[in-house]
Amino acid sequence: MTAAVLAASPARPTLVRAVCVREWREALGNKLLVGMTLLPPVVILIAGIGAVAAAAVNPPSDRDVQALYASAPAVAGLDPKEAVQGFIATYFLILFMLIPTVVPLTMAIYSVIGEKAARTLEPLLATPVGVGDLLFAKSLASTIPSVIVTWAAYGIYLATVIAIGSRAAVNAVTAPRWILAIVVLVPLLTLLSVNLGILISTRVNDVRVAQQIGGLVVVPVVGLGIAQVTGRVILDNGAFLEMTIVLIILDIAVFWFARLAFQRENILVRWR
């Protein structure tokens, strides 16, 4: 007499939890990946805190102050030291937006290319789970730690600036639109980066090549930072709203493409 089949499709939350826990265990066992995940936020954090502290100690030159007033009219009239601190604090807020583009990309690339290399995808796909659910779970497994790392880094930065920074610097880092940006834009940017990473990983087998291609996602963020520093773009509430809408559209589009690439038959027959 045959024993009863025990299997069934797992509930989505169960699947997501199982995939996330497994991926996190796997990631924690990979020292290179842990290092590459923590290095960007640590560097940006140290550089940001160091720059704000340095600005608090060293008075800026008249020429720097004039240039600053010209490029950032919002700080015109403030005490030069305060103005410079406020400017630096804002500039580093933009750099914090680099973390959700760099960190999750690496995790997502390792997640897919790692499975390809270990030949674990076929047994995974042989289970009754839906590939869409699997992709979603994998996306979250890379997104959640990246968002947490970014928020944690921002929290430390915020606390430090409040402790050592000028009023202008504190005003900059506690501006509601920046806090909203960190809360809303960081997860959206992270998701975009993750799904781009997954999409790229379906086409290449080398982590370094995938990272080089995926690194292009950093370019718009850096460009935005440069544009703001040079006064060409003012990141006001309207700009943040526009960015949010664009990111939502991009997230949906990239997830849709990743979903198209992430088909059982594609993975087993065409992925190499």
């Binding site: 045959t2 089949v5 699947l15 199982a18 009754p128």
Partner: protein, 309 residues
């Protein structure tokens, strides 16, 4: 007999290449079904089709009572597959690997834990359950992969080269496991290049090269191709009169000397052999032994599969 895998004109094309060409299979519940063919014959593609991992180009299939293309998730829940490579998460422990897959098969946590323990013990890996799989030998990894395929108690288990590269001890464990699965009424669909293993384990065998060339029981295949022969060794050695006596026995088709024995081909050895023995003993011959001369399955394979180049 109840069918658990039934296909009709199942076909899979990749562009111009016809990997699986209109196969008709009818695999019964509780049998070990051998699927033998050369490399590149389309065996893995067939397995992937039957496990609802890829879609057929045309044709239909019903696996464990579910229709391919309509009930794919149910098919995947009802079957288990051992892929060519173990494909385990090597940084994670044996326990974590099995519990993870049990969860993906929808087993509630207590059941997942119980099943992981059952199969780790069955495969002799319980003592090493906490160790990362990367520290395991190839044989242990293969046993882990087989445990994973059976974890959710599937009705049909597809095994792709389960004993390739294993030492004799590990291979024996795997073969015993296959026999145990059959004992439980499960169906095992076995792809192998090991003819001896197929001969020993399989109830029926399909020879395959993009299409099914022949399906039969191993003994039937041998008998069909070579007839059924009996080898009789006499002491000290057979004489011409012994051969004449043998040739005179009803039912004997042909008899000749070969390496100091008389080899006799007959339509039905079960009827003929007692008559042969009696004729020889009556003629004063001393019989050392009488044995069935078996063709090797490899010979049958080469005869059926190889000519189609």
């Amino acid at each position: 007999m109840k069918s658990v895998v039934r296909t009709e004109k199942l076909t899979k094309r990749f562009g111009d290449l016809v990997a699986v060409d209109g196969i008709d299979l009818d695999v019964h519940e509780g049998e070990v079904f051998g699927f033998l063919g050369p490399n590149g014959a389309g065996k893995t593609t067939t397995l992937r089709l039957l496990c609802a991992l890829i879609a057929p180009t045309s044709g239909t299939a019903e696996i464990a009572g579910f229709r391919l293309g309509r009930d794919d998730a149910k098919i995947r829940a009802a079957v288990g597959i051992l892929t060519e490579l173990p494909g385990l998460y090597e940084r994670q422990s044996a326990w974590d690997n099995l519990v993870f897959f049990a969860t993906l098969y929808g087993l509630p946590t207590p059941v997942a834990n119980a099943q992981a323990e059952k199969y780790l013990r069955l495969m002799g890996l319980w003592e090493r359950r906490k160790e990362p799989v990367v520290t395991f030998s190839r044989g242990m990894k293969q046993k882990m992969a087989i445990a994973r395929a059976a974890l959710h108690e599937p009705r049909v288990i597809f095994l792709d080269e389960p004993t390739t590269g294993l030492d004799p001890d590990a291979a024996k464990t795997v073969r015993e496991f296959i026999v145990a699965l059959r004992g439980e009424g499960r169906t095992v669909f076995l792809c192998t290049h090991n003819m001896d293993e197929a001969d020993r384990l399989c109830d029926r065998i399909a020879f395959f090269r993009h299409r099914v060339l022949r399906i039969a029981k191993p003994d039937e295949l041998r008998a069909e191709l070579y007839g059924r022969a009996t080898e009789i060794r006499l002491m000290p050695k057979p004489r011409a009169e012994d051969l004449a006596r043998v040739q005179a026995v009803p039912g004997v088709r042909e008899a000749h000397f070969e390496n100091g024995s008389i080899v006799v081909a007959s339509a039905d050895p079960l009827l003929t052999n007692p008559l042969l023995v009696k004729a020889l003993v009556d003629g004063g011959a001393d019989i050392a032994f009488v044995t069935e001369r078996k063709a090797h399955l490899e010979d049958v394979y080469l005869k059926i599969v190889e000519p189609i180049e």
